[in-house]
Symmetry: D2
Subunit: 302 residues, 4 copies
C-alpha cells in the first residue's frame, strides 16, 4: 500500500500528513521539482509517524523513479491560486507542468491510480487522462466543497456533519452546484428539518463557494480541508471502500466534472445519476458549459 505525492507544497504536505495521522497507507514518498522542499516535507511528516501510525515516509527528491510501486499517486504540483485569481485562470500555467510530469508519473508507476488535486482540477484531470491514456485517473473534484456544504449545514441543524448528506456537483469552482433538493439529515429531507430561507440559502451558498477565497485571504492558501479529502479518497481506493464521493471524471454532460461516484480499488467503479430539481439540472449544464469553454483552450481537450 504505497502512495506517492507529486508536489510537496502546502497541499501535498497536508495530504501526506493526513495519511500518516489516519494510517491511510504503509509507505509514502514525496516528489517535487524542488528536491529540498520534498526532503523537508518528508522529514517533517515522518516525525508524526512514531506518535501515530507507522507509515514509512521518504523523499524521492525530484526523481520520479521513486514513485515505482505506488498504488496511488496524488498530484498536487503546480502553481497555486493567487488571492483574487479565478481557478480557471491557472489553466495554462498548470497544463504546461502537467504535460511534463504526467507521462513521467505514468511511466514510473504504471499500475497507479492518479488522483489529481491541482487546479483547475476538472481540466487537469481531463488533461491527465489524455496524457496517460493507460492510467486510471480521477480528480479530487468537489469532495472538499461537499465537506464545506455539509459542515455549514451541520452547524445550522445542530447535528454532526457525519449525519448530514449533501453534495456539491459540477465544476470545483465558481459555477459549482449545491444540490439542495437532495440534501438530507439522517435520511430526512433537509427542508423538513431546517427552514431553508433565502437568507440561509444565500449564506450557505456563499460560505461554500467562497470558502477558499476567504481562507486564502486569511492564511495565503488552503491546505487542510483538501489534504483530508485527498487522504479520504486515497483510502477509498487502497482499501476498496466503495464509498460514494463527488470526484471528478468523465460525465454525460461533456467535460470532466464532479458527480457522485463509487470509489474503490482502481479508482471510480461507477458514476451515479444525481437527483436534481430542474434549476439544479440547469445549473449543472451551465457549469459543464463553463468547463467546456476553458477546456477548449487546451489543444488536447478540444
Amino acid at each position: 500500500m504505497n502512495v506517492g505525492v507529486v508536489g510537496a507544497g502546502l497541499v501535498g504536505g497536508a495530504a501526506g500528513y493526513a495519511m500518516v495521522l489516519r494510517g491511510s497507507c504503509t509507505d509514502l514518498v514525496l516528489v517535487d521539482l524542488d528536491a529540498e522542499r520534498a526532503h523537508a516535507e518528508a522529514a517533517d511528516i515522518s516525525h508524526a509517524a512514531p506518535v501515530s501510525h507507522p507509515v514509512r515516509v521518504r523523499s524521492g527528491g525530484s526523481d520520479y523513479a521513486a514513485l515505482a510501486g505506488s498504488a496511488v499517486v496524488v498530484v498536487t504540483a503546480g502553481a497555486n491560486q493567487k488571492p483574487g485569481e479565478d481557478r480557471l485562470e491557472l489553466v495554462e500555467r498548470n497544463a504546461e507542468i502537467f504535460r511534463q510530469i504526467i507521462p513521467q508519473i505514468a511511466s514510473a508507476a504504471p499500475q497507479a491510480v492518479l488522483l489529481i488535486a491541482s487546479n483547475p482540477v476538472d481540466i487537469l484531470t481531463a488533461l491527465s487522462a489524455k496524457l496517460a491514456p493507460h492510467s486510471r485517473v480521477l480528480g479530487s473534484g468537489t469532495v472538499l466543497d461537499s465537506a464545506r456544504f455539509r459542515s455549514l449545514l451541520s452547524g445550522h441543524i445542530g447535528a454532526s456533519p457525519q449525519s448530514v448528506h449533501a453534495h456539491v456537483l459540477g465544476e470545483h469552482g465558481e459555477s459549482e452546484v449545491l444540490a439542495w433538493s437532495s440534501a438530507s439529515v439522517g435520511g430526512i429531507p433537509l427542508a423538513k428539518v431546517l427552514q431553508v430561507t433565502p437568507e440561509l440559502r444565500g449564506e450557505v451558498e456563499q460560505g461554500t463557494r467562497q470558502a477558499a477565497a476567504q481562507i486564502i485571504t486569511g492564511k495565503g492558501a488552503t491546505n487542510y480541508g483538501v489534504g483530508a479529502a485527498l487522504a479520504l479518497i486515497t483510502e477509498a481506493i487502497l482499501k476498496d471502500r466503495r464509498a460514494v464521493l463527488t470526484v471528478s471524471g468523465p460525465s454525460p454532460y461533456g467535460p470532466f466534472l464532479s458527480l457522485p461516484r463509487i470509489v474503490g480499488a482502481g479508482g471510480v467503479l461507477s458514476t451515479l445519476t444525481p437527483d436534481l430539481d430542474p434549476a439544479e439540472e440547469l445549473a449543472l449544464r451551465q457549469s459543464a458549459e463553463a468547463l467546456a469553454q476553458v477546456a477548449s483552450a487546451l489543444p488536447e481537450l478540444r
Copy 2:
C-alpha cells in the same frame, strides 16, 4: 469519561470489548449479579487494552456502588431471547429484574445517562424512565436493525454501508418498519440506484427482521452487532457527537419506540419526524399499537 455496564453477559461483554477496541471511554466497569462473571469478562476485555486503547477496565462484581462517576451506564442485564421466543415474551421476566436494578443504578450514578439494551428494549426503556424519573434514559432501539438493513442494501448496491442511509423505525422486533421510501445512497434515492423488485424487497425485509433469529440458531445468541451499536451510541453521548441514530424513546405515537433522534451529551437532544410514505406510516402506527399492548402488561406503563 467513565462507562458502566450492568450485565456482563454476552451482550455486555461484546459492548465493553468494542469500547476498548474503539477507545470509546477512559474507564469501564462491569457489574453483574454473578460477580465471577463480571470478574472474568473484565479481565478478558482488559487484556485487549495494551494492544488497542488504554481504557482501564475493572470489575465491580455485583456491587452497584462501583458505578459511581459513570457518565453512561449501559444496561444489558436480564434473560436473553431463547430460540423461537418472541422479544415481547421476555417482558415479565426482565421487568422484574429492572425493578430491582434500575433504582440502584440511578442512585449509584445519579448523573449517568442510562442506555438500555435488554429486551424487549422499547418496553424496558419506558419502564426504566418510570423507575428512574430523574435520569436520562434511552434505548438502543433499532440502531442495530438499521445497521442490518444498510448492510444488506450495501451488498446489493456494491457501495459501502457507510454510504447507504436507511432507517428501521418503531419496535425493535417483529413489527419494525423498514423505511424504504427514504433510503438513499450517496444522497440519491435508493430506487434510482437499485431496482427494488418485490423479491429483493422481501429478501431484505426478511434478512433484516430475521437476522437475530438466524444468528441465534447458529450461535445461540447475538452479541457482536449489538455490542458495536452500543459502543457507537455511548460515544455519541460521551463525545457529544450529535449523531442521528434510531434510538428508542418517547414518541408521538404513544409508546416508546425508535425514531431518528439527535444523540449527544445527555442522551437524546431532539427527535426528528421521519419521512414516510402512507404504507410506512400505517405500519409504524401498527408497530406502536403492538408495543402499547405489551406495555399495558406492566402496571407502571398503563
Copy 3:
C-alpha cells in the same frame, strides 16, 4: 487485504469482530466445520461494519475454497481448553484436526500467511509448518500473555500499558517465562520505577500465568484478549508494520516457542535475542524442554 478465519468459534468470532472494529482488512471470510456457526458469526460480525469500518464479512460455510485470495488465514479451529485442563493435554485432539485442515487451507490460499491460535499453540504452529511446508506459518504465542503482563504492571505503576514494555517468552502455557529483568516503563528499568517485592512479583506472575484459568472459570472460555491480539498480529502482517511481537516460531532452543520477533509482510521478518538474566535463561530452556517433550508425542515433530 483479505483475511480468512478457520474456526468460527468464540476465538475466531472475537478475532473477526476486532478486525471489523479496527478496520484491519477489507474482506473477511469465516469457515468452520459447522457451516451454520460460520453463517451466524459472519452475520453477527457483519452488522458491526456499518457502524465502524466497511469490512465486507461473509461466511464460507465449511468450504475451504472460500479462503482463496486471503493474505492471512487465522486458524482457531479445534477443541477448547476445558476448566482445569492443561494446554498441552489438548495436543492429540487438535493435532488430528490440523492434519485435516492445514493442507486444505494451504491449497486454497497458497499465498497466505498462516496465523495459528489453537492450543497448544506452539506445538500446533510447529505441526502446521510441517503440514504446509510451502506456507509461511507463525503462532499467536505469548502476544496475549505479554499483554496480560503489561496490563498488570500498568496498574501497579499508574502508567498506561502502552508505556510499559515487558515480554513473556517460551511456551504459551504454564512454563512461560516473564522477562522481569528487561521490563521497562518509558525506557526506565522497571526496578527503578516500582519496588518489585517478592509479593508483587508472585502476584503478577500468578495473575499472568493463571489469567486464562480464572477467565475460563468465570465465563467458560477466553476470547476477547486473544481476539484483539490476533487482530494486531494480522495487521502487522497486512500493513507490513514491522512490529516487535512475541509470536511463536522456530527457535534456537529447539522447539517452536515465543521470542520477540519483527512481524511484517510475509510474517516473521527476523527473531531477536532476548535480554535475559541467568534465571530467566534457565527457565526459558526448561520451557523449551517441556515443549519438546510434548512435541515428541507427534510423529511429525519427532
Copy 4:
C-alpha cells in the same frame, strides 16, 4: 472535551488539524492576535471534520474569552525561529508576548492545563508557570525530538518506530541529550540489535538535533511533527492516558527541562528518573546549565 489553541500560525494550525484527524477533542477554538488568521485556519481545519471526526472547530478571533471552558489550551503564539537562529535567541521577543497573553488565558480558562509549544519552550514554560501560578503548565519539550530519534533508529533497525523506545532529554534545542544507553527495541537493549558505530551515532545525533534546521531550510518552518506531538500530549491529558512522555517541567537539575513524565488528567502526574550513563548524566547537567543561563535573562526566572 474543549481545547483552545492560542496562536493560529503554522504550528497551531497543524496541531488543530491533527486533533480533528485523530478525534482528540469535541470542540476546538483558535485564537490569534491576527483575527483573520484565526478565522482562516479554523475554517480550513473545520473542512476536515466531515471526512474525519466530528470535532466542532471555530475561530475566537483575537478574543481570549472564547477559551472559556477549555480543558487544555495549547500555546503556539509567538515569533518563529528564523533560518540560522538559535532557539534561545527567541527568548526576549516571545517572553514579552507571553507576559501579555498568559494572564489572559489563565483568567479566561482558569481550569485549563496550559500546554506550551512556543520556543524556547523550556524557558517559556517556566515563565508561564510564574505568570499563571494557579494553572497547571507543561511544555511540549522533547516529545518531538524523541519522535525524531525513534524515527531515525527505526529506519536503521528495520522495525516500526512504535517498537523503538528512546528518549531525548534536557533542553528542546541544541544542548539536548539523546539517551542512547537506555534505548531499546521491543525490550532489547539497542546495542544488542544494532551495531552502534561512531558513524551511526554521529549520523543519528545530527539527524535528531538538526532536523528542525534542515526542515526550516527546505520549507521555511517545521509544523507537522510538532503538531502531531501536541495532539498526542493533549489527548494524554484529556483522556487521562497516563502516558510516559518527555514533556518539559520543573526538574531536580534546576531549570525547567524535559524528563520522562507520566501525563494524564491535569497534566504531569509524576516525573521519572531517567536511566543514564555518566556521560549522559553530565550532558544533561550541561543542558540544564545552558538553560539556566538563558532563563537568567528573564527577571521572573532569576
